[in-house]
Amino acid sequence: MTLFTRASLFAVLAGALTLAALAASPAFAQNAPSATSAQDRGDSAGGATRLTPPTSGEQVYKQVCQACHMVDARGGSGAATIPALASNPRFGSDAYVVTMIVKGRGAMPGFTDLLPPAQIANVATYIRTHFGNAYPKPVTEGDVLQIEGVKPAAH
């Protein structure tokens, strides 16, 4: 019996091609994680979304943050809790808000894949000046770039 069959050769070749595809795909990734991304395996729609990203702080809040923290920024509670952003005394620290958006916590991912530094700054400012928070000092793109691991947006 030949152990190293033609079929197993093909399997090796196919594996090499798949790895090449895995390595190549993130560079082409648009807003939606690609099904072939090494980071985000699992089921996905299998298409290529082309969405206009949000820019202002309000747009980012409504199109991203609101998905979990709710329209009134009060979060929600079930088996565990999505924290309220409304009237949150921790937001006196702009670094706290920015770090949370950049790094995430627990189930919440960091958002540097989705949002460039300017948009992170915009939404941090928006949250700190809405929903019963009154911390008027704007968060700048420069503040966001201070956080370890944040890269300037590619232009």
Binding site: F28, T49, K62, V64, C68, G76, G78, A107, P109
Partner: protein
Amino acid sequence: MDTGTPRTTRRQLLTAIGMMGGSAALYQAMTTMGHAAETQFHGSPQLTGARKGATVIVLGAGLSGMLAAYELTKAGYSVRILEYQARAGGRNWSLYGGDTYTELGGATQKVGFAEGNYMNPGPWRIPHHHRTLLHYCKQFGVQLEPFIQFNHAAYVHSTDAFGSQPKRYREVAADFEGNVAELLGKAIDQKALDSDVTAEDKEKLKEALRGWGMLDKDMKYKTGLISSEHRGYERPPGGGVDGAPIPSNVFDFHDVLASQVWKNMSFFMNHEMQTTMFQPVGGMGMIGKAFARQVQPMITHNAKVTKLFQDKSGVTISYTDTVTGAATQAKADFCVCTIPLGVLNQIENNLQPAKQAAVAAVPYSNSVKIGLEMRRRFWEEDDFIYGGHSFTSQDISLVSYPNNHLFTDGPAVLIGAFASGLGAYRLAGMTPEQRIETALQQGSVFHPADYRKNFMDGASVAWSRVPWTLGCCARWNEDTRKEHYQTLVAVDDRVVLAGEHASYVGCWMEGALLSSIDAITRLHKRALEA
């Protein structure tokens, strides 16, 4: 492939290897022989000989938790399951007419689908190589039917191509392959590949390109009967006087590239997306129900775990009854915890600090699914689409057509969105009514005359607002895998974690089951060593 060796000989050899070297050796041998490379499943775990009176508490009645309970009971343990929901099954779930679902934030949907119709908010398709899941489906009597994964007649739509008009997948894919074949042929003729390919192989490659890419004798991809064999006809072949086919016009290559059809094409090549795929008859939730039938007496529902504490004497779980508000404690010798990491991260515990760090390190993904019930199957009756997916560059990502009850009259449910990333965040942030409206508006691009007109009822699940997961699935990356994965899956004295998050088949039911088998096998070993 058939190597000509008699099957009995091969089986006898494998049996001998299995007996001598155990399942790992058997798996290694089978892989070398070209078998079994598709799965790490080696059969149900066959655990036996639990110490008399030994107890296990399982947290979570999803697939991993219920499988752990089932197999540990067979091994001789006395098992209890605590489940937050009133329903067993976890993310294995179908929504039927009459069901009510309340998401975080309080929005409640009453599903109005006709009897027998459903949507699967979570898992909805099963790869043919997810052998663990298929094994237990068969064992627990879950009837499976084909899931129509790949449909050449469905549409591809991009706002960046063809003036935003949808085109049939077969047309765009054929044109992509045809153009690539022609260009590669040119490269060969221009001697651009002379250093890579021998003269003999150049001829073979050109022949392959001509046949694969539907090129003419001059190695051109162009409008004609040859290209129409792949992309379809303007007038298809028929009978009698007008039987002769008329070819269809190939598209401008610029549009073909702009459509990014290659993403759809390569998607279908992914191991997990390859045909054949399956779905349970009657909804994905049938699997959870079948598992629950095996372990239902062990389950305490409406139990919100508030504390996980272990010491030399055992494991103590504090939980609150979400209906009565009563706080209770449950004790056991060991614990299999299948609670999603984002939830577990908020539960007070005395797990090892490194384990706590691993639990905290993995964020969750955020998909959104929307089911739309339509009065009639206009996609079948008017567009000849039977199952499969139409892809779009809009938030909804796709429209997916039902795989069952084809050619029937009466209402049917299609999937009107399977969004991820930004599209899913946008849809999740909306009210359920706004989501349906957006899905109708975006999905109308494929069926403008019929989509809205036939709409009857809709339901949506935004996984970032699911009260018992706070997300869809664990999102590992190479860095977190390296730093935390082994710590996460290691037995921590009396506690072991299981679920899709404790696997490399993340976000699939198969991962939950493989993780469960591995976790209880190691926990059982530790229990016998104690």
